[in-house]
Symmetry: C2
Subunit: 394 residues, 2 copies
C-alpha cells in the first residue's frame, strides 16, 4: 500500500446506504437478504443499477454451500450482466469488499459500485458454525490443534490482564456501552441495555472471556453505493454525501504465536497509520470509531493500535467513559459487533453504513454531536488482516 496524501486519482463518495436488521433470518435465503440490502442502498442513492457489485462474505461456502455470490446476488437483485465478484479476508471480508469498490471507482474502471456485505450463519448447526469461523485462523498451527477464536481471545485477555493489571470491571465497559447503544439502533440484534453486574455474573465461554465479551452468531446484510465525488454531487440527493478520505489494508501473521507481540495488533496499527496519512488527519481528528469489538480484549487492543490509548490502557479508557457517545472517542456507536451483531462477512459494511449515518446526522438517539470525521476498522481472524477506512462529511 502506498501511503501518501495524493494517493487516489478520483475521489470516491458514498451516495447510498442500506441495511437489514441483524438477527436470525430463517425465513430468508442468502440471495433474498442480499437483495434487500442492495435495493435499500440503491433506493437511498436514487439509482436503479450500478456498474459492479462486490460482495464481502466469509462463510457461505461452508454454512450455505454456496460460492460464486457475486453473480448470484447481482442476478437476483436485477443487475444481471454487471461486473461482480466476492472478496474474502476472513472476518474483514466486508471492509475488504468496500476497499475493492473504492479502488474500482478511483481507477475509473467503474463509475458506480454497489458493495454488499452478507452472512447467513443461523441455518447451520453451532458446531458447523464454530468450525467455519476457525477458517480465519491458521489451519496448520492453530485450528488443527483445537484452538477457536474464543480460546485465542481468552489467551490474549488473560495475558493482557496479567501484563497490564486490567480488571474485569474495566472490560465490562465494552459490552455495557455497546448494549446501551444498541437500544437506539433499529437495525441492531440486541436492543437491550445490560448492567455491569450482568456482565460480571455471565457464564464463561473460555475463561476469562464470558458470554458478554463475545459477539453473537447472526444473519445480516448491508450495502453501500459508491461513486465519484463529482457524480455524487450531481445526484440531487436529499441526504448529505459522505466522502472516503482514507482507505488501507494491512496484514500480520495469521497465527497469534507468530506475531512480534501477541498483545499488539500490528495490522490495525499499520492500516490506521496509512489511512491517517492519506486522509491527512490524526487520531485527535476522529469523531467516532467503529472498531472490531468481536471480543472485549480485541476492542481494547484496537484502541491502542490506532493511537487512542497507550499500550495496556485501552480497557481503562473504556472504564473511564472515553468510549461513550459523549466520550473522547465514541466506539460501537450503533451497538458494535457485540449488540448490533457480528454477521461476519457483513460486519465491515455495517460499520461503514453506521459511520455514514453519523456523518449524515441520521443516527437518531445515538447521534454524535458535530460528527465530521469517522473511522471504521474491520479485523480478519484475530487480527491477521485489518482494513481501515476514514470517512468525512462535506
Amino acid at each position: 500500500m502506498k501511503a501518501d496524501a495524493e494517493v487516489t486519482l478520483r475521489q470516491v463518495s458514498i451516495a447510498g446506504i442500506g441495511q437489514v436488521q441483524v438477527g436470525e433470518h430463517w425465513d430468508l435465503t442468502l440471495r433474498q437478504i442480499g437483495y434487500q440490502a442492495i435495493k435499500s442502498a440503491l433506493d437511498d442513492a436514487g439509482m436503479e443499477s450500478a456498474d459492479a457489485v462486490y460482495v464481502g462474505n466469509m462463510l457461505a461456502e461452508s454454512l450455505n454451500r454456496q460460492a460464486h455470490l457475486g453473480a448470484l446476488v447481482a442476478d437476483f437483485s436485477g443487475l444481471r450482466g454487471v461486473e461482480a465478484f466476492r472478496v474474502e479476508a476472513a472476518d474483514a471480508s466486508g471492509a475488504a469488499a468496500f476497499r475493492a469498490g473504492v479502488m474500482a471507482v478511483a481507477s475509473g474502471m467503474c463509475d458506480t459500485v454497489v458493495v454488499l456485505g452478507i452472512e447467513k450463519m443461523t441455518d447451520a448447526l453451532p458446531a458447523e458454525t464454530q468450525a467455519a469461523l476457525a477458517l480465519g485462523m491458521d489451519r496448520e498451527y492453530e485450528a488443527n490443534h483445537g484452538l477457536s477464536q474464543a480460546s485465542l481471545a481468552a489467551l490474549m485477555m488473560r495475558r493482557y490482564m496479567h501484563e497490564f493489571g486490567a480488571t474485569l470491571d474495566e472490560f465490562a465497559a465494552f459490552p455495557v456501552t455497546a448494549h446501551e447503544n444498541g437500544v437506539g439502533n433499529p437495525f441492531a440484534m440486541f436492543r437491550r441495555a445490560i448492567k455491569r453486574e450482568t456482565y460480571l455474573r455471565a457464564g464463561p465461554l473460555a475463561e476469562p472471556v464470558n458470554l458478554f465479551d463475545s459477539a453473537p452468531i447472526c444473519d445480516g446484510a448491508a450495502a453501500v453505493v459508491l461513486t465519484t465525488r463529482e457524480n455524487a454531487s450531481k445526484l440531487g440527493l436529499d441526504h448529505p454525501i459522505v466522502h472516503v478520505i482514507g482507505s488501507a489494508v494491512a496484514t500480520d501473521a495469521v497465527a497469534v504465536h507468530d506475531r512480534k507481540d501477541p498483545l499488539f495488533l500490528e495490522a490495525a496499527y499499520l492500516s490506521s497509520q496509512r489511512a491517517y496519512l492519506q486522509a491527512g488527519v490524526t487520531p485527535e481528528d476522529i469523531d467516532l470509531f467503529e472498531l472490531h469489538d468481536s471480543f472485549s480484549v480485541i476492542a481494547a487492543m484496537s484502541l491502542e493500535a490506532c493511537g487512542f490509548a497507550n499500550k495496556g490502557e485501552g480497557a481503562r479508557l473504556a472504564y473511564e467513559g472515553g468510549i461513550a457517545l459523549n466520550g473522547r472517542i465514541p466506539i460501537s456507536t450503533m451497538g458494535g459487533l457485540k449488540a448490533r451483531g457480528n454477521p461476519i462477512g457483513a460486519t465491515g459494511v455495517y460499520q461503514i453504513v453506521e459511520v455514514a449515518l453519523q456523518l449524515r446526522g441520521e443516527a437518531g438517539d445515538n447521534q454524535i454531536a458535530d460528527a465530521r470525521i469517522g473511522m471504521a476498522q474491520n479485523l480478519g481472524g484475530t487480527g491477521g488482516t485489518a482494513v481501515t477506512h476514514i470517512l468525512a462529511s462535506e
Copy 2:
C-alpha cells in the same frame, strides 16, 4: 463496468510472471506452493516486495479448511504487513484477482501488486472435491438436485449437438490440440499428445462428455507482478514488458436454466465486448486466445461468444484447424485447462502468464509467430461469471 476507450487513469503493465508445474503436489502445503509462485514472479520482475497481494482461490475453504489466504500467503512469502485479500468468483477467481490488481494499480492506491492464483485439490477425497466444485453452481436450483459441473456440461453438449449438428469428431479437436500443445509446456500437467481415436474411445463422465472433454483435478499456483507502465519501463528488465489494454468482468445467471439461451455464454460475450472496446481492437486483432476449456463444449461456446465463430460453428472451427498454433485463432497454446491442467482458482492467472509468455516471445516450441495481442478469458461455474483480459506487447 464502464466501456470506453479512456477507461483507466494509469496504464498497468506486467513486470513479472511465475508459475509452478501443475500436478499433484502432495509434498507441498497451500502456503508453500503459493510462496513458490510469488517468489518466481518477484524474481522475474527483479523485485523483493510489493504493496499488495491479491489471491485468487475458490476451494481452499472446503478442501484445505483454510480461508484468510491473503494474509497467510503474504506472510509466508516474506511480505508480512502488505495489503492482502482473496478474490472469489468460482472458477474465475484467478482472473478476478488479476482484475482487482489492475484496479489497484490503475487507481493509484498501489504502485506494485502481486496477483496469485492458487488451488490445492488433490489432498481431498474425490467426493469432497466434486462437492466443492458444485459451490460454483446455483445451490438451491442446481447443486441441491444432484447436478454437477460435468452433468451440466453434458446437457449443454447434447443440446449443442442436437441444435447445430456438431459431431464428436469435431469436438475431438479441442482435447487433441490442447494435449499437443501441452507437450511443449514444461509447466503442464499432461505433456503427452493424444490421438483422435483415443478421444473417441474414451470412457464417459456424463454422456456425451467423456474423460478427454473434461479438465483434470490438480494442484497449481501462478503469479504475476503488476505495476504502472511508467514504473515497468524503468526497471531495466531483460524481458519485454506486457501491457494490460483491456480488463472486464461480466455476469449471467448462475443457473444454466435461468439463462436467456443455454447455448450462448452471455457473460463471455459481454466481458469480451467491453474488453475489445477498452483496448480498441476487434477479434481479428487477437493473435491468441487462452479460453476456458473446462469442457470441450464450453470451449466451442467461448469461441462463439467472443466473436471468433458464428453461433453453432465453434466446434467446426476447431475441427478445421482454426484453433491450432498456426490457425486463425490459436487457443490453449500451452495446453489449456485440459492439458496444462485446471487448478480452479489458479487457472485464470496461469492463462495470463501464458499470454505474457507468448507476447514476450518466450513460449518455446509453442510460440505463436509475431504475437502482439493476446486475450485470456476465465469463466466461473458454467459461465455465470466471465473475466476477460487483453494484453499487448510494446
